[in-house]
Point group: C2
Chain length 412, copies 2
């Protein structure tokens, strides 16, 4: 392998997405490889929030629901998300958190498959997905059972008792990518629905929900979509399911005519029915502004860069950190990997802390995983070079062995 | 009655809360009497949001969960809300929307009263409360039944089939105040739980949840609490219930050890277990900043002013708008009324629109209710005088009869 920082710089110079980095407000001296956990700050956010607060809320007060279009913000943000995930505009809305939305759609899936009680998922799925399914099971009792099987056994676990398969498309820890088209097809073969959590995919992977005939999906607004900490999440349901779709969280914003204030719930049109409470306007405004950075981006280009960044990182670690004890803990084939690279090391936690001190921000997942996310809108090829150089130095000089790096704090 | 604008100004001059108005950024030329729908903008919000975005998110990125205390924000905001509602600090958290939170606690109530399937509520309750209960009933089937009875018949509707009474403390349309202590006591007599929606009370009424032995409560962050459009809501559960409390929305933030990423859900300590997804930091930051305006305020003083403002409004309408067709549609006794006044008029919608055009912002609720909310932190006695003067002019000159005022738009 014949890599150099100059060659990385040349790749940046030739990168059609390189100009997008200027749309983000990135701190000096930091190589941020944790956009898979919290996306960086788009420059468009602060002025848009300032206007939403000072001009809309402050000046126009209650009228803002109409004159500033607050009331339609869940749909408008959903429509902007749609092309990023291969959906139609009216199939997506932004609302609530990923966890709450998963509850809605998992319950809806069970209701849409009467007589079936099994939800198939995998162990080690992102924990909140498992916890939400467990909560739904505890609430519904005998009407639901979880069948938790390893990823490679999922096709065998599908039968006519299965109401839905609920999986995270990109595994948060290993970065492994599920075959969305194939698993969805297999689910449909037995009459089950496929519900995908796109939290670690949306904004970095070229998704094609319609092309894969996906039934239902949820996803996170604050990772590769850069909507800010705890940003509103999103929900997708294929148009063909809209007539049968019912949300168990039937709040007033999901009502057909919320401002008539009648006593009986009646589901709103299409995806409006999966809205629940009053939309979180500040969070939606930030997410809406963040999506500007995707305007005009071809998702295939984004995905190509995502793969190239991950490949480069793995190649550089192999070439420049031999005998470091760092092992790949993700698929080496970029086609099977999300926009992150995972390495394993018994002292992974301390190494991540030492890297952070030197300005390379990745994160750690127990028991031994170092995660590095590559947000293709703002991570450069030279960043990957520099990050691996710093990793190499940390492994060589053993700085991470300092006891202070082993003191665990809360991390997300 | 011997009222004058000068006397109103004198009451403002003597008002211990008068200085609080300067903490809000209120538009010129507007008398805002809709803080019961969307509270006005506290001046503290914009700079705090700017810091949360520019300094925390932008500079410290993922580290902000620790170094800026984001992870504890639901509890910290809850602890600040607690004294406003007569609760202990560890009995309150801020999270999600009122609708989502009501679902959590209504489901929890049913689970805490095994063998009982009835939830008692009233017709005309705030619609989202009814819709959420209907959604829970549709989800749980035979395990739950709604008993919807008029307010005055609620005590008679309580029996040993009842798991919970779910009521909004202040009625959104009539402003009528339920007797929280008495209904809670009657619920307890039959072994049921009392779950109160404080959306139209918190921040304007001197609530005493502990003193009333209330079991569960939810409430809205964007009305009298001024947390901004779609602000996070809050949840309360009495400490004595914490051991048995389970949320059906068992997301990762409600887990005992969310960052261990284990597969099995285990409820977190106390109220942490009713958290679900990642906390909405921007919304929580705005709400946290908004609560500064309550620092050092005695809720009894706030309530006294709230009652006085409402009484003044009713007195002035009676004295200065005779033969206008406007009728009181709320309790005349301030002790039975929340911090709003409702009037009825067959042309209420057009009258509200004409008032808005002249700078008096109230709102309309079908079929014929004009609502005027009195947020005691920023509404002055002279505002009440001026508002009624403008109402008098609108009724006298008949401006509201212009057809354009009858064109309905979406309002909240």
């Amino acid at each position: 392998m014949n890599l150099s920082r100059e060659k990385c710089a040349a790749r940046d110079a030739a990168d059609g997405l390189a100009g997008r980095r200027a749309l983000f407000d990135l701190p000096e001296g930091v190589i941020y490889l944790d956009g898979n956990s919290l996306g960086a700050l788009p420059r468009a956010v602060a002025p848009r929030l300032q206007a939403a607060v000072g001009e809309a809320w402050g000046r126009d007060l209650i009228k803002s629901w109409n004159v500033h279009g607050w009331i339609d913000l869940p749909s408008r943000v959903g429509a902007r998300l749609a092309p990023l995930i291969g959906a139609q505009a009216h199939e997506v809305v932004a609302a609530d958190s990923t966890s709450v939305n998963l509850f809605k759609l998992a319950a809806a899936a069970i209701a849409m498959r009467p007589g079936r009680r099994v939800i198939v998922t995998e162990p080690g799925n992102f924990p909140t997905d498992l916890y939400v399914l467990q909560g739904l099971r505890d609430l519904l009792g005998d009407r639901i059972a979880l069948r938790v099987v390893e990823a490679d056994r999922i096709p065998d676990a599908l039968d006519e008792d299965v109401a839905a398969v609920v999986l995270t498309h990109v595994h948060y820890k290993s970065g492994r990518l599920h075959d969305m088209a194939e698993i969805t097809r297999r689910a449909h073969e037995v009459g089950a629905l496929a519900l995908w959590d796109l939290s670690h995919s949306a904004g970095a992977i070229d998704l094609d929900l319609n092309g894969c005939d996906v039934d239902l999906a949820v996803g996170c607004g604050y990772k590769y979509l850069n909507g800010g900490p705890g940003a509103p999440a999103f929900l997708f349901a294929a148009e063909r399911l809209h007539p049968a779709l019912r949300s168990p969280l039937s709040g007033w914003m999901g009502h057909a005519r919320p401002f008539e204030f009648i006593d009986e719930y009646e589901p709103g049109d299409g995806m409006l029915r999966v809205l629940c409470g009053t939309p979180p306007i500040l969070g939606l405004t930030a997410l809406d502004a963040a999506l500007d950075a995707f305007d005009g981006v071809a998702m295939a280009d984004l995905r190509a860069k995502s793969r190239a960044l991950g490949d480069l990182f793995l190649d550089l670690v192999a070439a420049r950190c031999p005998n470091s004890g760092l092992q790949p803990a993700c698929p080496l084939d970029a086609a099977l990997r999300g926009s992150q690279v995972s390495l394993s090391h018994p002292d992974g936690y301390a190494i991540v802390q030492a890297l952070i001190e030197r300005g390379v921000v990745g994160d750690f997942r127990a028991p031994d995983i170092l995660r590095f996310g590559f947000a293709p809108l703002y991570v450069r090829f030279v960043d990957v070079w520099d990050a691996v150089e710093i990793l190499r130095n940390v492994m060589t000089d053993g700085a991470w062995r300092e006891p202070r790096f082993s003191l665990k704090a809360v991390v997300t």
